[in-house]
């Protein structure tokens, strides 16, 4: 026998009441947990993915789209830019690194990126098996791509045009897998990396057929100056195009001068990942706030419901309380037992709510491919969850404090003489 046994038996004696109180609270807590996990992980992913990239230069259009497309690889390109225009900035004194990106194709909805080795270095990628891409049509694939498409070293595949699965496939040229990356927990896990030339090669066949151009191999003439972005191409090549260029500043001065410099070029646009993701979050924030508000309403209602349940049950329990006093229970013991009843209710509710929240995310990441790709994981726990637990314990105590004071004040003599 202990105070817990007593409290637990009282809760068990009113199973429906207890269940509805726990359910109400746990729903509220579950919503908050889901939002917390989702928001935290998304924010973390976004900052991780954008780390090291100070500016994205691409074709004119929506700056948010430019960021979504070229950093997170979830949107379509805004268009292409001329390689020679991009080159002009690549050697700017305020730029430390300029990384070209050529997009356009995908394999089973995993995007193929034509880029340089520096792109992989941004995410500190390491090789798990095989090698980095070296020749044209060599690809090195991200960890998720390898597990989900079952591609292995040496496998060949034809890419599809665009991002959607089952688009027009380039059957004549097949990529060959030469390497698989270790998981980086970044967007790289969902990408297929190759060199820029491969992406051009995929698409130049069309150009040849349509326009009758000869393939534009770089001439081995003596005054060949390699392009700073794609060394196999001569500097100033007026035909080659890329999708975008990722830029790292050499000094903070870059943040002040470069965007203006780029934007003043009629055909180019510069977008700052930090600014655009902040904008994205403020747009998403409205929805999150509404859901959050809804969750708080649920929690307040459950608090009220617990208060009412305790208050009412105390009326029925006046004799129990008086009897317990007659058996030697102190006022304080009764006070504590009622407080504990509120606390146990809310602790159970919030524990179940936390489990539900994590459970929903685990289910979601198991069933919905998009959440899996976004790297949302239901098994990650955050210290904020202690705050949720502590907060609900506090809620329980607050809801129970008035009934507990009533219990404390019970006039035993009057109650016992009352019948």
């Amino acid at each position: 026998m202990s105070i817990f046994t007593l409290v637990w038996n009282y809760l068990k004696a009113r199973p429906l009441n207890t269940a509805i109180n726990i359910l109400l609270l746990s729903l509220g807590i579950a919503v908050i947990t889901i939002l917390l996990l989702f928001n935290k992980q998304l924010e973390q992913k976004i900052t991780e993915n954008a780390r090291g990239i100070d500016l994205v230069v691409g074709a004119k259009g929506s700056p948010l789209q430019l960021i979504l497309c070229n950093i997170f690889h979830v949107d379509f390109p805004t268009g292409n830019i001329k390689l020679n225009e991009a080159e002009r900035f690549a050697k700017h004194r305020l730029i430390k690194n300029a990384i070209p990106l050529a997009l356009g194709d995908s394999y089973q909805s995993y995007r193929i990126i034509g880029t340089s080795q520096k792109y992989a270095e941004l995410y500190k990628a390491e090789i798990q098996q095989g090698n980095w891409w070296r020749n044209n049509l060599d690809v090195t694939i991200g960890a998720n791509v390898a597990t989900l498409t079952q591609l292995k070293l040496g496998d060949k595949f034809a890419s599809a045009h665009g991002l959607a699965d089952g688009g027009h496939t380039h059957n004549d040229h097949q990529y060959i897998v030469v390497g698989i990356l270790k998981p980086t927990n970044s967007v790289l896990d969902n990408l297929i990396l190759t060199n820029v030339e491969s992406v051009w090669e995929m698409h130049e066949e069309h150009a040849e057929e349509e326009e009758g151009h000869a393939e534009h191999e770089h001439a081995a003439d003596s005054n060949f100056i390699p392009s700073p972005l794609v060394p196999s191409v001569g500097k100033g090549d007026s035909l080659k195009e890329i999708t975008s260029m990722l830029i790292q500043y050499r000094s903070p001065m870059g943040a002040i001068q470069l965007p203006r410099l780029v934007n003043s070029q009629s055909s180019l646009q510069a977008a700052s990942p930090a600014f655009e993701t902040a904008r994205l979050f403020s747009i998403l924030g409205v929805g999150v706030d509404i859901l959050m508000g809804f969750a708080y309403v649920l929690i307040v209602i459950s608090g009220l419901s617990i208060f009412i349940a305790l208050y009412n049950s105390l009326k029925e329990r006046r004799y129990d309380l008086a009897i317990m006093r007659s058996m030697g229970a102190s006022r304080t013991k009764l006070f504590v037992s009622i407080l504990l009843e509120g606390g146990v209710l809310t602790m159970l509710g919030s524990l179940i709510g936390l489990l539900m929240g994590h459970g929903v995310l685990v289910l979601l990441s198991g069933m919905v491919e998009e959440t899996q790709k976004a790297g949302i994981n239901g098994f990650i726990f955050y210290p904020e969850e202690w705050i949720i637990l502590g907060g609900s314990l506090l809620l329980g105590l607050i809801c129970a404090v008035i009934p507990a004071i009533q219990a404390y004040r019970t006039d035993i003599s009057r109650v016992l003489a009352g019948n």
Binding site: M1, S2, T5, L6, N9, Y10, K12, A13, Y319, D320, A322, I323, M324, R325, S326, M327, G328, A329, S330, R331, T332, K333, I412, S413, L416, A417, N419
Partner: protein, 211 residues
């Protein structure tokens, strides 16, 4: 054991009540008689420490109750006094066994399972140990209440109108049961009642006059 001298109590409404002096020695039983409203329950609650702030002297086992703090009065009550009320007041949320366990637990004593077995089988309730209180008959519930009152081997058992709602046969049975368990545990039994049927059961009697 119990010594009452010059005891009076003032109700919240303002009217006061004066009690006759009496003493009860250890192991002796006593009947507290009087009409409804004569202050029997008040006296019983004063004796049991459920009511405080009396004037005069009230000693249980040589302890002047007014001198105890509220918390020590609670402890004193739990360890020395067993109560039996007209209605049984069992805790419905608990089983028979847990109801009994509450007595030593709340009094701050050790819970002994053998003691529970002993008391329950003494009252013919052994097979009801795990039953829910709500499934008991009235007679069984009353026996559980008696078991709870004697479980801590209190030196005094106070019974407030234990028989007034019962028919003659059950009245006879209950008063004998009470006296038997009290004798068994060498407890003093003090019964407050207006039930005339009990007058010839306990010879030691205190009369309270009506107000």
């Amino acid at each position: 054991m119990i010594s009452v001298q010059n005891l009076s109590f003032q109700y919240a409404a303002g009217n006061a009540i004066q009690f006759p002096d009496f003493t009860v020695t250890r192991g002796e039983h006593c009947l507290l008689l009087g009409e409804s409203g004569s202050g029997k329950t008040t006296l019983l609650h004063l004796l049991g420490g459920l009511l405080r702030h009396y004037s005069g002297s009230l000693k249980i086992e040589d302890t002047e109750l007014a001198q105890l703090s509220e918390a020590s009065l609670d402890r004193f009550r739990g360890q020395n006094i067993g109560f039996i009320f007209q209605r049984n007041h069992l805790i419905n949320a608990l089983t028979v066994e847990k109801n009994l366990m509450m007595a030593p637990y709340l009094a701050g004593l050790k819970i002994e399972s053998e003691r529970i077995t002993e008391v329950l089988s003494g009252l013919g309730l052994a097979e009801k140990r795990k039953s829910r209180v709500t499934q008991l008959s009235h007679g069984q519930a009353q026996r559980v209440a008696i078991a709870r009152a004697v479980l801590n081997k209190p030196s005094i058992i106070f019974a407030d109108e234990p028989t007034s709602a019962l028919d003659d046969k059950n009245c006879e049975r209950v008063i004998h049961l009470l006296m038997d368990v009290a004798n068994q545990h060498q407890s003093t039994l003090l019964v407050a009642t207006h039930d005339q049927r009990l007058k010839d059961k306990i010879s030691n009697q205190v009369w309270l006059s009506s107000l």
